[in-house]
Symmetry: C2
Subunit: 415 residues, 2 copies
């Protein structure tokens, strides 16, 4: 018999991880396995292999001092270098003392949720939202996640009305909401939020006395024209953000995430929680070296943005060729594509059927909107930073899905 | 405002970590800082620097595949190699599928406690016990730790009577005990438990329907004549053990711990919890290489045991020269030393005074028995795997403590 928390977690193993490892086990190859799986389900940036190998060759091996105990919320030097990096990106000073390094952005999200929420307290999230937030923010903390459904009619823009409705409803039912959380830049949408929308969101949070949690893991992966607005620049003291090396540096296996908070009490709590999820000093030494030369880092990140932009543009072209719509993306690893007119029947039942067809018959791993609490069925997240031929093959396979004679009606659900 | 769990954790920041970093900031040096701090408070094995540097030089740098997502409970190859290592040491087959790798032994202890215990459920521990268990096992799970006081009269041998008393008392008061936990080899005592004592403990656990949690982090650090008995050999299906690279390999910064459980439900829960505390694939690649050659590994571990034995023997000699008693140690990094006759006044009040004198006046960092829930005041844990001159200087400073004219009476407390 296991504990209640453990039983709930076991039951809710993130679908994202399962789908990923299944697809990775039998990968597509144009010659040796043309009927293999195409994994466009995981937001893994695979455009940076050559750059990473070149960097790795320049780094010294670990030495004995790298193996010793170090402060469990990150070595001072690595936090200093991350603070420099984020200060430039956020255009807002980041103090290394306000950074808490833990073993991945997932752990950082768990830390902030556990620091803020007692079990049963709530976090409101504009939806669709990154599906793993359910586990990351709620799995150990016991926080309850409340989706605030955005509308496809305006391209899922960050609309305050549904967020405020969710806050009001929670208040009326006696629930304590502790925070509004969102990924910025957006995931799965790939949007860069306009500064004025984020300012309005911060005002709303203040009005309702709740904190703002921002997952800024794509902060350096903005390739569209709109500038990134860090939550740190909104003038609110109750902002807590997460960043990591997984996306912008293409180092998802390194599991290095960082929480930034200027609230001393939350910071103390986060440091105490970091004790349970520290990052290896060996990996910290590698990351410290990786950030040693700010010019080299800036060049690396700029090249990443160029490659992401090219990958996104090529994918959009493929989608257009096959008559598949999408929400325009300006950042990140994914496109939110529109398969509403391919649904075999209306509603999320139809979306699940379509997902199975795509996964089993087409052998393409993309995640259904339902996994992101999409307010409307028929949307899927497609991750594009892969070999261009893999993306082209996947989109071509998706293009074989027949448009349904009676297109599925737009059915709304708040789930 | 932070959550209740976070507030409790913040209030209970482990004294061990704080004392460590204070002492490390101003270290003793025979010439440049003869009045500096001597840190014998942390169970860090610093005898292996030359071996680690030699190994590090042989390891290849990371390459791009090492940076990708991998199963979050450890790569198959690393788990396989750890399983081989533990199979040899435990003299009991360890299946890699039953290993869950997480970011440190602390995380592994948190995982097993959280998998087993709902908040308020209890774990019984023979005391003195490793002080950080309070946080590791109880901090996030909400489990309550109940010390079962052993007796100095028989050298703190693993006596079942107090353990059974604690189980009975808990049962009478309506508390649900989920497990008995202990470090084996013992910490702070440095004992290797006789097989028959462990068998009796397993029978007691079975009788009371509770699991056994074993922290076997010193499994390869046994230098005395008595062979190590792994809990896995007791024939009980409800045994869960923790091991890591911190002590036996002298890699505390690498934060790689592993839980071993043959219970499928607990394993599933542990894998779900590992999602929040994964180990960097970069560090996993290094550890996989480190274990690549079983002969090299066996040689490394044998040399470690030789060095630990020599360090322990030299420390015992110094202690004897200064008239300080101790419990004979057969494993690990520490000696449990007897300063009962130096207590300035009776009880733990006197122990706290003596600790302050040792820390502030003698500038020696050793941890007081109270931090290990010692049932009797006047005992301290001294960690010896350091430069021999540092240990000699520390013991010499301790030797200046005056024996109290009226020796403190033996006062027992169950705290």
């Amino acid at each position: 018999m296991v504990s209640r928390t453990a039983a709930a977690l076991t039951a809710a193993t993130p679908a994202i991880a399962e789908a990923h490892f299944r697809a990775e086990a039998f990968p597509y190859h144009p010659v040796s396995r043309p009927d293999g799986y195409l994994n466009l389900g995981t937001a893994e940036n695979r455009l940076l292999g050559d750059l990473l190998d070149r960097l790795a060759a320049e780094l010294p091996p670990f030495s004995e001092p790298d193996t010793r105990y170090a402060p469990l919320h990150g070595t001072p030097l690595l936090r200093e270098r991350i603070a420099q990096l984020l200060t430039a990106c956020y255009r807002s000073p980041v103090d290394p003392e306000n950074l808490v390094l833990v073993s991945g952005a997932t752990a950082a999200l768990d830390v902030i949720a556990s620091a803020l929420c007692d079990p049963g307290e709530a976090i409101v999230l504009p939806a669709p939202y990154y599906g793993a937030f359910d586990t990351d923010l709620g799995g150990r903390s016991g926080a309850r996640l409340i989706p605030a459904p955005l509308s496809s009619a305006n391209g899922f823009a960050l609309d305050l009305a549904p967020v405020e409705r969710a806050l009001c409803l929670a208040r009326r039912t006696g629930a304590t909401v502790r925070a509004i959380a969102l990924a910025s830049p957006a995931n799965p949408l790939g949007q860069v939020y306009p500064a004025e929308h984020l300012h309005e969101l911060a005002r709303l949070a203040e009005e309702y006395g709740v904190d703002l949690i921002g997952d800024q893991i794509y902060a350096h992966s903005v390739f569209g024209p709109r500038p990134f607005t860090a939550l740190e620049t909104l003038g609110s003291p109750r902002v807590h953000t997460v960043w990591g090396f997984a996306k912008d540096f293409g180092l998802p296996g390194f599991k290095a995430g960082v929480l930034h908070t200027t609230d001393p009490e939350v910071r103390a709590a986060a440091r105490a929680l970091a004790y349970f999820a520290p990052v290896s000093t060996g990996t910290q030494a590698v990351l410290t070296q990786l950030l040693a030369d700010p010019d080299r880092t800036a060049g690396f990140l700029a090249e990443n943005r160029r490659r992401l932009a090219a990958s996104c543009a090529a994918t959009v072209e493929q989608l257009a060729r096959h008559g598949i719509g999408h929400v325009p993306a300006e950042a990140g690893c994914s496109l939110w594509i529109d398969l509403r007119d391919r649904l075999p029947e209306p509603g999320f039942v139809g979306e699940r059927q379509l997902w199975r067809t795509i996964a089993d018959r087409l052998r393409v791993n993309i995640l259904p909107g339902e996994a992101f609490h999409s307010p409307e069925p028929g949307w899927f997240r497609l991750c594009h930073p892969l070999d261009a031929s893999v993306v082209a093959e996947a989109v071509a396979r998706l293009g074989t899905l027949p448009a349904q004679p009676a297109a599925a009606p737009l059915e709304w659900s708040h789930r």
